[in-house]
């Protein structure tokens, strides 16, 4: 409990209706006097009623968490794998799948590439031969940047020695 006992809330604007504001102040005064356990003989009838309400509101609730709640839950959390380990596993799996797909694509290209490339080269004669070389250079650039990016991400995630 980090709210000081003599703190009355004065940060919210007052009610537009003055009767409501007076009632609010009586409610706050009763709460403060009940917290401080001040002598009720000095209270007026309104404050006395609100002090009665305050006494009930300050009573402990009729049910509570089990005594070992914190201990049990902390043990349960400690027994589960860390999110970092999960992430590492997921990344490893993604990388392995990526490599597998790239290998499969390379094999398919070697086997059937000639059959696809010849109709393409006849359909796009303008690309030959200069544009074709630029396309190859562009693909190499993309591949190199992807590899560099992956290597940098891997270096960042690796645990310190």
């Amino acid at each position: 409990m980090n709210h000081h006992i003599d703190d009355m809330d004065d940060t919210t604007p007052p009610f537009a209706d003055s009767a409501h504001e007076r009632e609010w102040l009586a409610q706050e005064e009763a709460m403060r006097r009940e917290r401080l356990q001040l002598d009720p003989a000095a209270d007026d009838a309104r404050v006395r009623r609100y002090r009665r309400v305050a006494r009930v509101l300050r009573a402990p609730l009729d049910a509570a968490l089990p005594i070992d709640f914190a201990q049990q839950l902390a043990a349960q959390v400690a027994a589960t794998p860390t999110p970092a380990a999960d992430i590492r596993f997921e990344r490893g799996l993604t990388l392995a799948l990526g490599i597998l797909m790239a290998l499969a694509a390379a094999v398919v290209t070697v086997l059937y590439g000639q059959a696809w490339l010849s109709p393409l080269s006849t359909a796009l004669p303008a690309l030959q031969p200069l544009a074709g070389r630029w396309l190859v250079a562009f693909a190499i650039c993309i591949g190199v940047s992807w590899l560099l990016g992956s290597w940098q991400r891997h270096a960042r995630l690796a645990p310190p020695a």
Partner: protein
């Protein structure tokens, strides 16, 4: 930086570094707040226990996102409030009872000559008031509990619930007025 913020930072750092006992300490420190919010919202003890567990699991999962721009108490309270709110929405329980919000009670009419203590037995009065608190809408019950049991200031309750301070003040005012009315009706009937 004040003591509370330093304490929060040290505790959060210890949990994130997975120091032994740190998370248990965090739970112990805030389980009362969590219980007060969740139990007052849902009222069902078993559901409330499960939701408190969900709250701390979520806190553990998301603690690296805590930026220290509010007190740790408010941040954890907000997680608990959000989880309890979702539970109520899932069960289609309204957070507020809009039918009872009009204040027709005569605020200024309080009889000075009426002696509460002799009109009705203390235990019976307390029981009636507990029933009246239980009958309040979930939001008002929770705000009253935060204000009286946790002694949470209105500004901090605004951070927990995401409601404007003026709205919280208005809810506190109306619910206390309603409880005062209940008190007077019951004691009046008893007298």
């Amino acid at each position: 930086m004040d003591d509370i913020h330093l304490h929060d930072r040290a505790l959060v750092d210890a949990v994130l570094a997975r120091r032994p006992g740190a998370f248990e300490r965090l739970i112990r420190e805030y389980q009362g707040l969590c219980w007060h919010i969740v139990y007052r919202m849902v009222r069902h003890p078993e559901d409330a226990r499960d939701l408190c567990q969900d709250t701390f699991l979520r806190v553990h999962q998301c603690l690296h996102q805590y930026r220290h721009d509010s007190a740790l108490k408010s941040w954890i309270g907000r997680v608990a409030y959000t989880i309890a709110l979702r539970h109520l929405q899932h069960k289609r329980i309204p957070l507020l009872d809009h039918t009872g919000d009009d204040d027709d009670s005569p605020i200024e009419q309080v009889s000075d000559g009426f002696d509460l203590e002799t009109a009705c037995a203390d235990e019976e009065l307390a029981r009636q008031l507990h029933l009246a608190i239980d009958a309040l809408p979930p939001l008002q019950r929770t705000l009253l509990t935060l204000y009286y049991l946790e002694e949470t200031p209105i500004a901090e309750m605004a951070q927990i619930t995401g409601l404007p301070s003026g709205t919280i003040k208005s809810h506190l005012f109306r619910s206390r007025l309603r409880l005062r009315d209940v008190l007077e009706t019951r004691t009046g009937a008893a007298a």
